[in-house]
Amino acid sequence: MASTDLVVGDFAIEHAPGHRMRRFFSSAAFWLTIGAFLLFAVFPVYWMFVTTFKQINDLYSLDENPLIFNLAPTLEHVQFLWDQTRYPTWLVNTVEIGVFTVIITLLVSIPAAYALARSRFPGSGTLGIGIFLTYLIPPTLLFLPLSQIVVGLGLINTRWSLVLVYPTFTIPFCTWLLMGFFRGVPREMTEAARVDGCSRLGALFRVVLPVSLPGILTVVIFAFTLTMQEYVYALTFVSEQTEKTVTLGVSADLIRGDVFAWSSLMAGALIISVPVAIAYNFFLDTFVKGITGGAVK
């Protein structure tokens, strides 16, 4: 990296003054960029956190520094969210919808992606891109025809309507993502498995899937977050309080006309994003590293 000293053997290399200046500027630019990016990424989360635990008087006071707690932090808004709204139900709904969507997505995406990644039928490449393109069709276009289907199946106003509809965007996206991971598994590895005693399907389950575990976890988390943040379909298909998701419930119940229950809103957002953030950081990082490598060459 730009910040490390160049050392050869025991001798630090002497730099000419001009060179040293350049090095200083390039490392300053490096840290500035990182810093700016960090600020950009962390600030909203920090704001969410501070707002959640601020007393109302602190929050609306314009005279104090808005970035810190000027009065003691409080759990009042979290309490309100928990006791006075259906937030716990929404949370359960969100997780339930997410889990079912992820399961359906995996069941469809894994075979589809594997077939597209491995088989050599004419147009298999184009088909892969075609599938991804369907992901780009916006929900605002699709919710009208989809609502017909949802009504027809009698699922309107239930969370099952969302379990049905969400795979329409998670499947294309995840299939495309998994294709990349499966392509990274050397063909010889599945062939070795087939010679060793697996059927084609057996090779998929015993070798390709375990080796692609990082990819599959990525897909699980992506699919889950995609469903978690979805709003348009939830808004159009579900109005029953007990069937709502967090995204929908929080924005519908904590914004009354032009009165925003800011702190509870932020609490609602914080509670659901923390586990996901943890999953992203720990889980993936440790899994992605070190599973693969050494298979070939």
Binding site: E188, E191, V195, D196, G293
Partner: protein, 365 residues
Amino acid sequence: MATVELQHVTKRFGDVLAVNDLNLKIKDQEFLVFVGPSGCGKTTALRMVAGLEQQSGGNIYIGDRLVNDVAPKDRDIAMVFQNYALYPHMNVEQNLAFGLKLRHVGKAEIKRRIDGAAQILALGHLLKRRPRELSGGQRQRVAVGRAIVREPAAFLMDEPLSNLDAKLRIQTRAEIQKLHQRIRTTTIYVTHDQVEAMTMGERIAVMHDGILQQLDTPEALYERPANLFVAGFIGSPAMNFFKGKIVGTPDAPLVDVGLFSVAVPSPQRAAASRALGSEVVYGVRPEHMFVRDGSSPEGVTVEAKVEVVEYLGYEEQVYCSLDSTSFNVRLPAQMRTHVGGRIPLTIPKDRGHVFDAKTEQALAA
């Protein structure tokens, strides 16, 4: 253990004829090598035996069983891949045990076989490691071990040494030979390296453009190449070729290459007598020519100009020219040949090979 037989096996990829009417029978316990230049269809042929590639035509037998429609897992073969294709999520022991567990081999038996293979291949201390924690040579041994423990009817190996460095390659080459002498499993070994083929193969199938050129022992390939391709492919540096014509009498036919005339070697004399006047190619190996001295064998001697000398310590490789024709010879290192000088080279009378210029086949008795 078993024989492997290919009858009229053909493989097409679209317009490419990768393997063209391949017929051969690998004997029980034999170590047979497929060799040929890149793209000649060796891998494709091997993969058809493994069942990883469906042949476009022809029959494949393993033992007495027709396996055309048998899945790879049911063919009772084990394969070693060029890039090893170890399972990265399993340690060495699990890699070795994988195929056995799938076949419901008992625990004690699995242990016995893994211990056996680990001992043969010196893998004992590596059993708990993951493939990524192994060196290239160790991975290669694990790949071979995975094949051994299966105790299959046949081993199929596709350039298993090509990812190793030169020294390790020679060492492992010897180890694979030793291994074969010990367990005698029928083996098909693919390589593009003719030295590997010559040193390892009990018989060698030389392929070119999807067509089997010659199937023979290393000695026969070297002594009696069936055609120009085999003659040029086997041996390093390659055989020298001179265009010429059969002249002389039916009793004593000669090849006249313009610069010199040389007697047709005795095994081909009868065929040559019947082909007086026809266009031929005369081939002689670089190691079969000598600088003339008192004890030189009988033959024809030419004055060649020395163009380049490559000193190798134990010998010299000398690039010569004769008018506009260039060729090379291998001479003892103590010759100290001088570039630009002239040397009298003897072509012994029975070491040459005569090929029909049109069909490129060796003139046969």
